[in-house]
């Protein structure tokens, strides 16, 4: 393409052709999703095993590894994706901000749980189990709708169903025993992140 004058018809052709080129669907690979999925599953298994062996609830603090490790890795991986694609659309910004809010909210949940425990002595940490199974599925469903990706919507709905069950158990006073809850938690993250992550990777390679 050069710096030359156009006829009116050519102008219209340039505009429509450039719009068509930018409308190409860019499907990010599912590596960020896979990283979060495997990280959650790894920590869930680790906490489950350590709880079973030692009976010390302090092992639950290992969950704080998730935002630390995941946050740093996500930043590095997003930069790589942006460098490879070279363009940022409205959808990219919307999904990025959606995940930033969903990802930072557990910090606030943890702060509220801590304050309530200090003030009332009541253990509210069950909320930390319900949180990722409500907020994360909603963020994932929204992303699935935005980028028209069914695997994200289905994965999000599966996670949400498990989240609703978790909330009902907490409200009904049913104890979330690690023996049945940890496998359910792992299942939710496999459905929400690992399965869609692999599907996205396969589609991205095909594209």
């Amino acid at each position: 393409m050069e710096d030359r004058k156009l006829t009116e018809k050519e102008s219209l052709e340039v505009i429509t052709s450039m719009i068509a080129r930018t409308k190409e669907r860019y499907l990010d690979d599912g590596n960020i999703l896979l990283m979060w999925g495997y990280l959650a599953v790894f920590i869930a298994i680790l906490v489950w095993v350590l709880l079973a062996i030692t009976r010390q609830s302090a092992w639950n603090f290992l969950w704080f590894m998730m935002p630390l490790v995941g946050g740093v890795a996500t930043r590095a991986m997003s930069r790589k994706q942006l460098r490879e694609r070279g363009v940022r659309t409205f959808t990219d910004r919307a999904t990025s901000e959606l995940w930033a809010i969903a990802g930072s909210s557990p910090i606030w949940v943890a702060v509220v749980c801590l304050i309530l425990q200090c003030l009332t002595g009541n253990d509210c940490w069950g909320a930390m189990l319900a949180y990722p199974l409500i907020v994360v599925p909603f963020a994932e469903i929204a992303q699935g709708i935005l980028i028209k990706e069914d695997s994200l919507i289905m994965g999000g709905l599966t996670g949400l169903l498990i989240g609703i069950l978790t909330i009902c158990c907490i409200a009904g006073g049913i104890v979330l025993h690690a023996n049945w809850f940890q496998p359910l938690f792992i299942l939710a993250f496999v459905a929400m992140m690992i399965v869609p992550g692999h599907i996205l990777n396969r589609k991205a390679k095909r594209e």
Binding site: S11, M18, I19, T22, G86, V87
Partner: protein, 93 residues
């Protein structure tokens, strides 16, 4: 009949503006690839659009690599929309 904006009535500048109307930001490499232009020519046209206040050009680093990012300004959006409206009258659309 109103005259078409001469700054936009050029193949490469119009292509750049059309792309930037559709994305939030695009880097130099992306624009070069989509417009199939040479780096030198693209650079000159970006400077012209930037001087007119139609686009903003930011030079920064992404990781360890330099990256030039372009995005359309509100003035650029208005100019593009006006260009399309005038173009419609020329083409009787």
């Amino acid at each position: 009949m109103k005259e078409l904006n001469p700054l936009l009535h050029s193949q490469l500048r119009l292509a750049i503006m059309s792309i930037l109307m559709n994305v939030e930001e695009a880097d130099f490499v992306y624009l070069k690839e989509k417009t199939e232009s040479t780096a030198g020519n693209l650079s000159v046209q970006l400077d012209k659009l930037s001087s007119a206040g139609y686009i903003s050009v930011e030079k920064g680093m992404l990781g360890k690599r330099p990256r030039t990012t372009c995005s359309i300004t509100s003035e650029g959006q208005r100019a593009f929309e006006e260009y399309v409206e005038v173009l419609k009258t020329y083409l009787n659309l």
